[in-house]
Symmetry: C2
Amino acid sequence: MSTNSRFAVAVHVLTLMAWSGDEPLKSDQVAESVNTNPVVIRRMLCELAEAGLVVSQTGSLGGSRLAQDPAETTLLDIYKALECQGVFSLHRQPPSPDCPVGVNIETVLGDVLEEVDSAVEQVLAQISINDVVQRLKPCGETTVDKKRHHKNEQVSLPEIRVSARSRRAKAYRTA
Amino acid sequence: MSTNSRFAVAVHVLTLMAWSGDEPLKSDQVAESVNTNPVVIRRMLCELAEAGLVVSQTGSLGGSRLAQDPAETTLLDIYKALECQGVFSLHRQPPSPDCPVGVNIETVLGDVLEEVDSAVEQVLAQISINDVVQRLKPCGETTVDKKRHHKNEQVSLPEIRVSARSRRAKAYRTA
DNA sequence: AAAACTGTAACTATAATGGTTACAAAAGTC
DNA sequence: GACTTTTGTAACCATTATAGTTACAGTTTT
C-alpha cells in the first residue's frame, strides 16, 4: 500500500544506535550503513528527537544516540514518531452526497481503517528495538559463510523494482 | 503510510454494485458517486474483473455487476485484487553489506512486515461487502436530519490537505 | 448503420519521498 | 579567539505512484 521506506529506515537507524551503545553516531556513519544521503538521515533524526526517541548534539564531537533503553522503545513508538498515515487512505475528493452509498461510505471506511490500524499497532507495540537487535544476531553468524560454499548460488542481483501499474498492465496482457 | 485511496474507491465501487443488485452499473454512474473520472473507474474495474470480483459487458446495455454474492466477497479479496503492497516498504537501496546491522536488517524487517500484513489481512478477511452495506444503512437514516437542528454546527469545510513534510516542519518550528 | 458502452493507450497533473547542495549555529580543539 | 567538525534546516531537483483527461478501437443492442 505504500512505497515509503521511512519506517524501515527509522528502525534501521535506531537499531544501529542500540548496536553501538552510548557511542554517539554521526549522520555520515548512519548514512553509510543505510546507503543514503546524510541529510536524509538528519531530517529523520529530527523527527525522532522530537518524539523523544533519540538525542542529538551539534559540534565536533556531536552525533546522535538513543534517548532511552532500547528495550523501552517499540516499533510503534517509531511508527507514531514518523506520523505514518495509516494503512490506507480515504477518498481524495469527497464522494457524491446525493448518492445513498456515497454519502456514508467514508464513515464506514473510517471505522474499517481504525480497526485495521489498531491491529497494526498491536503488532508493532510488541516489538522493541532490543528485540530487533536480538533477531539480528542469529542471521549474522551464518549468512556470510554460506555464500562461500555454493558457487552457483543465486547472487544478490541488482534488484529492478517495477512500478505497480506496469506490473498490473503486463499481467493483464499475458492473461 | 499511504496516500492511496485505491482501496477505498474499490470498496465504494463494489458496495454500489451490491446496493443496486443485478442492475449492471455504467462507469459513468459509478464515477459520479465516487466523484472521479469514468476512466479511473474502468481501470479499476479491469483489475477487479481479473480477480473475479466483478463482471463487465461492453455494448449499449453494458456495465458491470458483482460476480458473486456480496456476502462472499471480503475486503481482503479486494485488497489482494488491487495488489496493495503491504503496510510499509523495505529500503529502496539495499543497505551496506559491510555493516553488521545493514547486512541483516532487511531480513528482520521482512519478518516484521509479514507479521503486520498478516494482522491486517485477518481484519479485512472478516468484513464482507455485505457487511459494508449493512453498516451503511444506519448512518443514512440520521445524518441528514441532525444537521438541520444545529445551525452553528461545524459545516463540512473544504478540506485542505497539508503535505506530511510541511506539517512536520511546521510542528518543529512552533515547538 | 447508429448509438451506447467498455477496454486501453497516451498523455498531463499532483504530491510524496528521496537525494543534493549550501550554509548558519553549536561545540569542541588548537 | 580562530579553526574544525557536526547538526539543523532551507531550497532545490529527481523519481515515482496515483489521479485525471482525451481519444479511439471494439462490442453489443436497437
